[in-house]
């Protein structure tokens, strides 16, 4: 440890919770404040607090624990199989220091873009094949093109930073670790679509992200980097549904956060009725790299329909919990077994076994262990009844019964339904109660029929994505683990 | 000589009164002269208004059930009538939806539950004198914690809503059934609650 020339100390939420302040304090005491820098997420969150030591010869060491007592292996596949694009500066740059960000290339792509015709920027993005990382996967370039094509001189760019899926912390890492990247991506978007106003809607549950964003906006404005683009931060009030774009817009406008039917889409009539571009954090954060390296470079990564890289938050029954960014098309097996180290051994020493991987949070589903070779892309996961979602990836082991998992997510939707449309407001309540019967093993055959019928109804008739996808965890576990539901029918045996 | 006509066996018909106000049975009695036609077509084997038999018999073809399932006796009788009847009809809103008797379920979530709350209110809080909980094991049936519509307790074949269903509605329903047809049950006259 003595040979280290400088230290990078993770100062993101999860490492803070694990004692990053104490670790940093002791590193400062040993090496001096000038040799210790605060950075964003160093990825292996489960081993936090984390600190990296950069040696003069380029060697990097990684330590975990309040006293840096655990030496970790930076050559583990968890790190070496990552492909950092969105997170390229996260963990390297001091998120509170504009100078550091500039020194590492922040705002360079914006400066170049501003010399280009807006149309050229949109075309570059279309070339990249980037699709919305919030979950729906709409082609980003096409969305930008739509907004750019709208008449009028007042347009808005909105960043959806209301990341709320259980088990999802991809966007938080960007916001906390490299906030200037988001501002740059949004400013590029503003230039491309002709917007002069920008809003970042960030959930109140991310106080550190809010603090970093405030600092970053102030610093970037003071330096004139956002000239012509007025950026505002809006803090959510704890409603998951505000991640739905029309609810988010209502919330920014000061109204109740409830979705409305589309069309009109926000691209045509969004915030204050103005043409509005909404993308999520990761989508905007991919933009500077795409514009710097070219759309073709980005499009060369990934699969035929899902280009580039994707950030995932890996958690649940897994050895290496943390944040990964991989090329689209990487198999779930590579992510879970090779990078994540699989399910930890049981206390009795027996091998842990992967039962399923839950992707996409309350809107997603479970991919069973037998299908772990599925490459991660939008269509592949959808074909299995799950979704890419925003990037939460929760590994399930044999200890969890699927009706229980389904009930957990249904309970989440019951609590988070805005109450505007009937199927979501009342249907999810009935679905949760039906699932109770399966969890408590007092269901009947008729309950199973009703469960499937009501899932179909809520999915087909709800107003917004929250309700439409609320049955997915049930439908997906019914598809692959139906026997567990059948066994929960009273009198069906052990 | 003419061959004596073979009379088909009469339909064995029952009506049951669970937790309800008996209004559905009053409406049934409003069938007036049609009751004679009914009596010609069916054998009434059990009914609070048309027979004096105390035990629900075996081999019932059609049973109309008024009222929700609110106490232990209701529950026992519901299970018995289901086991002994071919067709069971939820007769009126209380059987169909628990209706007014079900209102005490609003107190199911409070301390003491709905059973305690309703007894407290009825026999203690509102008593002018001699306030006490009724307690006569084996005579006064115990209340269930929740009042349930009939179909949440037993399988129900037909639902005849209304509070009460009008005599006309009952007649049309029974006429269809007696003809061996599925009752039509369309439109406000035949289907509306309340």
């Amino acid at each position: 440890m003595k040979a280290a020339i400088s230290w990078r100390c993770c100062d993101a939420t999860s490492c803070r919770a694990a004692g990053a302040a104490a670790l940093r304090h002791s590193l400062v005491a040993q090496h001096g404040a000038e040799r210790v820098k605060s950075v964003g997420c160093l990825r292996l969150c489960g081993q936090g607090p984390l600190a990296a030591a950069d040696h003069e010869d380029g060697r990097v060491e990684l330590f975990g624990g309040v006293a840096a007592e655990r030496q970790l292996d930076p050559q583990h596949p968890f790190f070496t199989l990552q492909r950092s694009v969105v997170l390229e500066r996260c963990g390297l740059v001091d998120p509170g220091c504009l100078e550091d960000a500039l020194a590492q290339g922040a705002y360079a792509a914006l400066a170049v873009c501003r010399q280009l015709a807006p149309k050229a920027v949109v075309e570059e993005l279309e070339r990249s094949g980037l699709r919305g990382r919030g979950g729906a996967g709409y082609p980003t370039g096409r969305k930008w093109q739509l907004v750019a094509a709208q008449p009028g001189s007042s347009k808005v760019v909105v960043c959806n930073a209301d990341e709320g899926d259980p088990g999802a912390f991809m966007d938080r890492a960007v916001l906390e670790g490299d906030p200037h990247r988001l501002l740059e991506g949004m400013a590029i978007a503003a230039h491309a679509v002709g917007a002069n106003e920008g809003y970042i809607y960030v959930r109140a549950e991310y106080p550190l992200a809010i603090e970093r964003l405030r600092g970053a906006i102030a610093a970037a404005e003071a330096r004139g980097l956002l000239a012509g683009f007025a950026m505002q931060l809006r803090i959510g009030a704890g409603a998951y549904v505000c991640g739905e774009e029309t609810a988010l817009l209502h919330s920014i406008e000061g109204g109740r956060g409830t979705p409305r039917p589309r069309p009109p889409y926000p691209a045509v009539s969004g915030l204050w009725g103005l043409p509005t571009l909404i993308n999520n954090v990761e989508t905007f954060a991919a933009v500077p790299a795409i514009l710097r390296q070219g759309g073709a470079w980005y499009g060369a990564m990934g699969t035929a329909t899902s280009k580039g890289t994707k950030v995932f938050a890996l958690s649940g029954a897994i050895t290496h919990t943390g944040l990964i960014e991989v090329e689209m098309g990487t198999s779930l097996r590579t992510i879970v077994e090779t990078m994540g180290g699989g399910v930890p051994a049981n206390p009795n020493g027996s091998l842990g076994v992967v039962k399923a991987v839950q992707t996409g949070g309350p809107s997603g589903g479970c991919v069973p262990a037998a299908l772990l070779d599925t490459p991660v892309d939008y269509e592949g996961l959808q074909a299995l009844g799950s979704i890419m979602g925003s990037g939460g990836m929760v590994v399930i082991d044999e200890s969890l019964a699927m009706p229980e998992l389904a009930r957990y997510f249904m309970g989440f939707c019951v609590a988070e339904s805005c109450g505007k449309c009937l199927p979501c407001r009342a249907g999810t309540v009935q679905l949760e109660q039906l699932l109770d019967r399966f969890v408590e093993r007092r269901a009947t055959g008729a309950d199973l029929v009703q469960l499937e019928q009501l899932c179909g109804m809520v999915k087909a008739t709800s107003l917004c994505g929250l309700g439409q996808s609320a049955p997915n965890p049930v439908l997906s576990t019914l598809r692959f683990f139906r026997a567990e539901y059948e066994a929960a029918i009273a009198g069906a045996g052990p | 000589m003419t061959t004596p006509q073979v009379q088909p066996p009469k339909l064995r018909f029952a009506t049951v009164w669970l937790a309800g106000c008996s209004g559905c049975h009053m409406s049934f009695l409003d069938l007036d002269e049609w009751l004679f036609e009914l009596a010609a077509a069916v054998e009434i084997v059990y009914s609070p208004v048309a027979s004096d038999i105390k035990v629900f018999p075996e081999g019932v073809d059609l049973c109309l059930v008024e009222g929700a399932v609110a106490n232990a006796d209701n529950l026992a009788l519901a299970l018995q009538l289901r086991a002994r009847s071919k067709l069971v009809v939820s007769f009126g809103d209380c059987a169909v939806s628990a209706n007014v008797p079900g209102l005490r379920n609003l107190w199911a979530g409070v301390a003491g539950g709905s059973r305690q709350s309703v007894l407290e209110r009825g026999y203690v809080e509102l008593a002018d004198r001699g306030a006490q909980h009724p307690h006569a094991p084996g005579i006064v049936p115990e209340l269930l914690e929740r009042v349930l519509p009939l179909h949440e307790v037993i399988a129900v074949d037909y639902f005849l809503p209304g509070c009460p269903p009008s005599a006309e509605r009952i007649r049309e329903f029974l006429e269809d059934l007696l003809r061996g047809e599925r009752p039509q049950q369309q439109g406000a006259e035949q289907l509306r609650f309340g």
């Binding site: 409603a239 109740r256 409830t258 409305r260 039917p261 019951v414 609590a415 988070e416 339904s417 805005c418 109450g419 505007k420 449309c421 009937l422 199927p423 407001r425 009342a426 249907g427 999810t428 309540v429 009935q430 109660q433 009703q450 019928q453 009501l454 109804m457 087909a460 008739t461 709800s462 107003l463 | 939820s90 809103d93 169909v96 939806s97 628990a98 209706n99 007014v100 079900g102 209102l103 379920n105 609003l106 199911a108 979530g109 519509p149 179909h151 949440e152 129900v156 037909y158 639902f159 005849l160 809503p161 509070c163 049950q185 369309q186 439109g187 406000a188 289907l191 509306r192 609650f193 309340g194």
Partner: protein
């Protein structure tokens, strides 16, 4: 004065139908002499697409769409009563009954209730979903009117009536999910909300017995769902229904 707007032709349940180009599917369906059930919709108020009863099937379109907020388009092929839609509607009406405390027997609106009507329309003879018996309350603080939350289906017609027609915005929606309720003012007793003009338009708009006149007893409520449209037309088109 009035310009005839261009018209479009679409097909509804196999029958061709020509309507103004800006017509909604609901208007088109009705102009064809057909019907889909509605609860949150009220002519004269901004449609919100919340009750989901008017969902229709559009050929070649992946999702069901609410007729009340969907603009009719040339060549659309619309189905209003597929077996799937009928099954969903029946479930929806059962969910409405199960989520509130709807006891028709002693309701002011018994016999003049749109929820009762749609139950009849979809052929609902019982609810397959257990009744929830939510703990709600009655707001009797207003001198003339009452609000029985047990009977509220959260259609928000009162909210829109008060906001868009009366301009007082006494009503809004509070809370979330199944705990949602209509609130007066800043979630105050109705009688304490000074913005209320006591016009009674919210009572006219209410499809159930949730909002009522205090003098009305069981089955005595006289709803006036037509008033929103009459007032809207009087203002925008200067057309007065009493002249």
């Amino acid at each position: 004065m009035t310009q005839a707007s261009p018209s479009i032709t679409l097909q509804i349940n196999g029958q061709p139908c020509t309507v103004a180009a800006d017509a909604t599917l609901l208007q088109a369906i009705r102009s064809a002499g057909l019907q889909v059930p509605t609860l949150c919709h009220l002519d004269g108020l901004t449609p919100v697409g919340a009750c989901r009863l008017c969902l229709v099937d559009l050929e070649g379109h992946p999702k069901l769409e609410p007729a009340c907020v969907t603009t009719a388009a040339e060549g659309m092929v619309v189905h209003t009563h597929t077996p799937e839609l009928e099954s969903y509607r029946r479930m929806a009406v059962e969910l409405f009954f199960a989520e509130g405390n709807h006891v028709c027997a002693f309701c002011v609106a018994n016999g003049a209730c749109e929820l009762q009507d749609v139950a009849v329309e979809v052929g609902m003879d019982h609810s397959r979903f257990p009744y929830q018996y939510p703990k709600r309350h009655v707001d009797a603080s207003h001198a003339l009117f009452g609000l029985d939350h047990h009977r509220c289906i959260l259609c928000t017609r009162c909210v829109r009536m008060c906001d868009e027609i009366e301009g007082a915005h006494v009503w809004d929606v509070g809370y979330r999910g199944s705990a949602c309720s209509i609130i007066a003012g800043l979630d105050q007793p109705w009688g304490e909300v000074e913005a209320c003009t006591s016009c009674g338009k919210c009572v006219d708009a209410c499809p159930t017995g949730a909002l009522f006149r205090k003098q009305d007893a069981t089955a005595e409520k006289q709803p006036h769902p037509e008033r929103a449209q009459q007032l809207a037309e009087a203002r925008t088109d200067r057309r007065w229904h009493n002249q």
